[in-house]
């Protein structure tokens, strides 16, 4: 049974050897020329400004949660769509109920202003 996993093990060893090898090669061939500019935070070639711990609107969090919610909804729909014909009418009704419940949630979020950015 474990033999089935042999390719996985080979892949794992290869990946590690590749990454480790590259790191070793750069350490061996590359020349270290330290300069103050190199030690700075890289920000698209610009002078870094401000603090990494800046505060941002908590609204991002709400948007992210809502995004994940509807993302997962899409995932369930894909699973149903792959077998839509076999599941037939009862499958269609079930997925319709699922969508209806989510639609109520979406309507609720919308009417409560969860989708408005400036509030």
């Amino acid at each position: 049974m474990l033999a089935e996993y042999a390719p996985l093990l080979a892949w794992l060893v290869l990946v590690m050897a590749f990454v480790g090898g590259l790191l070793a090669l750069t350490a061996w061939i590359g020349r270290a020329r330290p300069a103050p500019g190199k030690a700075e935070t890289y920000e698209c070639g610009m002078q870094p400004m401000g603090d990494a711990r800046g505060r941002f609107s908590v609204h991002y969090y709400l948007v992210a949660v809502l995004f994940i919610l509807f993302d997962v909804e899409a995932l369930f729909l894909v699973l149903w769509a792959l077998r839509a014909r076999e599941l037939g009418m009862s499958g269609l009704i079930e997925v319709g109920l699922f969508l209806a419940v989510l639609a109520v949630g979406w309507l609720h979020i919308w009417r409560r202003g969860g989708l408005e950015w400036d509030r």
């Binding site: 599941l87 009862s90 079930e94 109520v104 949630g105 309507l107 609720h108 919308w110 009417r111 409560r112």
Partner: protein, 484 residues
């Protein structure tokens, strides 16, 4: 292929569908035509309607949702579990009645919809947990009951204690859910089974053993059993008191009953291990409760101690299974004592936290001994309810709490664990120390200066509270109807 639902499936699904349907309806009302009264009516009707659907389950055992048409049902209800389901619905009803003033009108009523919706989803999860006979339904049930509670605990978002309670409960609860889920995955990987009896396979490898252990940790956390009880005091204290009542009565019943139903699968643990765990929980809960100067915190820690006594019922069950050897078909005694205890504890804690909520309205929301000094004399009705509740929790004769302890210890002695029963009884006496201390503080001290009322007490909440208090006395002298 999806197969048609049987009559048994519908019997079990009806209360769940009714609850979640009412929850979705409330969201729809708020989206289309916000009306606060309509939302409250739909929520309370949702809870009572679900209770009506549970009633027929009190008469017979029902198994439904046999996985993939196979032999193993995903949901199993017995009369005892149906009684606990009614307790869960009732505690949500009490929490709703108590929250009408404090939570629904918080911040100008902005969170009323959230409160009612979550109050309907939470007991749906409790019912699922109670009836779960399959890892999928157990996990779904525990998550469905926990997620609304995390939010409900933090509902008073401008109160730092409430937010702290929500965050602590969420972080630790998510961690426990991780244990639960990973344990289930390991058991499935080792045995290929996901039903409650998976752990009863003859030869359990190390992977299944680790998985069952992790599953056990997840359940012990939800039931607040030492050494996984540390969240209970902070969460119970910080959460708004109506929510605490729901957690104490409903969550405890669902989690401990699930622990009982899944414990035969955890054959790793001999009866003495359950008894040791129970004694540890009893000692830890009692000793920490003795030292509290806050009634809410004291009740939370005493809840931990009660869970310890409940573990004795599990010990008796495990011992019976070993000697009986009939794989899960042991006499109903231990389960009867467990469900009676959970009902008695549920009534008493609903009454206690409910009366405390009414008193808190006059103490500026505070529940420490100083603020509650002499309050029962000034407010006799909540005071009387609190008195009955505390006596029942302590196990005073002629209350349901006394008989509950009696039944558990009788089961323990019946399987020959007399020493453990003796230790438990002595430790139970310790509990009188803090319950009577609280009563002395409430009744026998001069009340402090009256503080302005935070929110007016309402007659509806007080009337609802009388029900669990009266039941605590009635079933203390007439226990037969609850021996399900």
């Amino acid at each position: 292929m999806p197969s048609a639902l049987t009559a048994a499936d519908w019997m079990l699904a009806a209360p769940l569908l009714w609850l979640t349907g009412a929850g979705v309806l409330i969201l729809l009302i708020d989206a289309l035509r916000p009306a606060r009264l309509a939302e409250a009516v739909v929520a309370l009707l949702g809870l009572t309607g679900a209770g009506w659907f549970v009633l027929p389950l009190l008469r017979e055992s029902v198994s439904g949702f046999a996985a993939g048409g196979g032999a193993v049902p995903m949901l199993v209800s017995t009369p005892g579990l149906a009684a606990l389901a009614l307790l869960c619905l009732g505690s949500a009803f009490v929490a709703g009645a108590l929250g009408l003033r404090r939570l629904v009108e918080y911040e100008g009523g902005r969170h009323g919809t959230a409160f009612w919706t979550l109050l309907l989803f939470c007991p749906a999860g409790m019912l699922l947990t109670l009836w779960s006979n399959h890892m999928a339904t157990l996990f779904l049930g525990i998550e469905t009951l926990s997620l609304p509670l995390y939010v409900l605990a933090a509902l008073q978002r401008n109160d730092e204690h409430s937010v702290e309670a929500g965050l602590k409960y969420f972080l630790l609860g998510a961690f426990a859910s991780g244990f639960l889920g990973f344990g289930m995955a390991l058991v499935y990987a080792a045995t290929g089974r996901m039903d409650a009896a998976a752990g009863q396979e003859a030869a359990l490898g190390p992977m299944a053993a680790v998985g069952l252990g992790m599953l056990l940790i997840g359940l012990l956390f939800k039931a607040a059993i030492a050494p996984f009880h540390l969240w209970a005091a902070d969460v119970y204290q910080g959460a708004p008191t109506p929510v605490t009542a729901l957690m104490a009565a409903g969550t405890k019943a669902a989690a401990v009953a699930a622990l009982f139903r899944w414990s035969p699968g955890i054959e790793l643990l001999p009866p003495t291990a359950w008894a040791m765990l129970g004694t540890l929980t009893l000692v830890v809960g009692n000793l920490s409760a003795l030292n509290q100067a806050n009634l809410k915190r004291m009740l939370a820690l005493s809840g931990v101690a009660h869970a310890g006594i409940l573990l004795y019922a599990l010990a008796a069950n495990a011992a019976g299974l070993r000697t009986g050897g009939s794989g899960g078909e042991y006499a109903d005694g231990p389960f009867q004592s467990l469900s009676f205890y959970l009902l008695a504890y549920g009534f008493a804690s609903l009454a206690a936290f409910g009366a405390l909520e009414l008193l808190e309205r006059h103490s500026g929301g505070r529940s420490d001994d100083d603020a509650l000094r002499g309050m029962a004399r000034r407010h006799p009705l909540p005071g009387a309810v609190l008195c009955v509740a505390l006596l029942s929790l302590a196990g005073f004769p002629f209350t349901a709490g006394f008989l509950a302890k009696y039944f558990v210890f009788v089961e323990l002695i019946r399987v020959g664990m007399t020493g453990w029963a003796l230790a438990g009884i002595l430790l139970t006496l310790l509990a009188f120390g803090y319950y009577l201390k609280a009563l002395v503080n409430l009744f026998m001290r001069e009340p402090g200066p009256q503080r302005p009322a935070m929110v007016p007490a309402d007659a509806f909440a007080a009337a609802v509270l009388l029900v669990p208090a009266i039941l605590s006395v009635v079933f203390g002298v007439w226990p037969a109807p609850l021996r399900l």
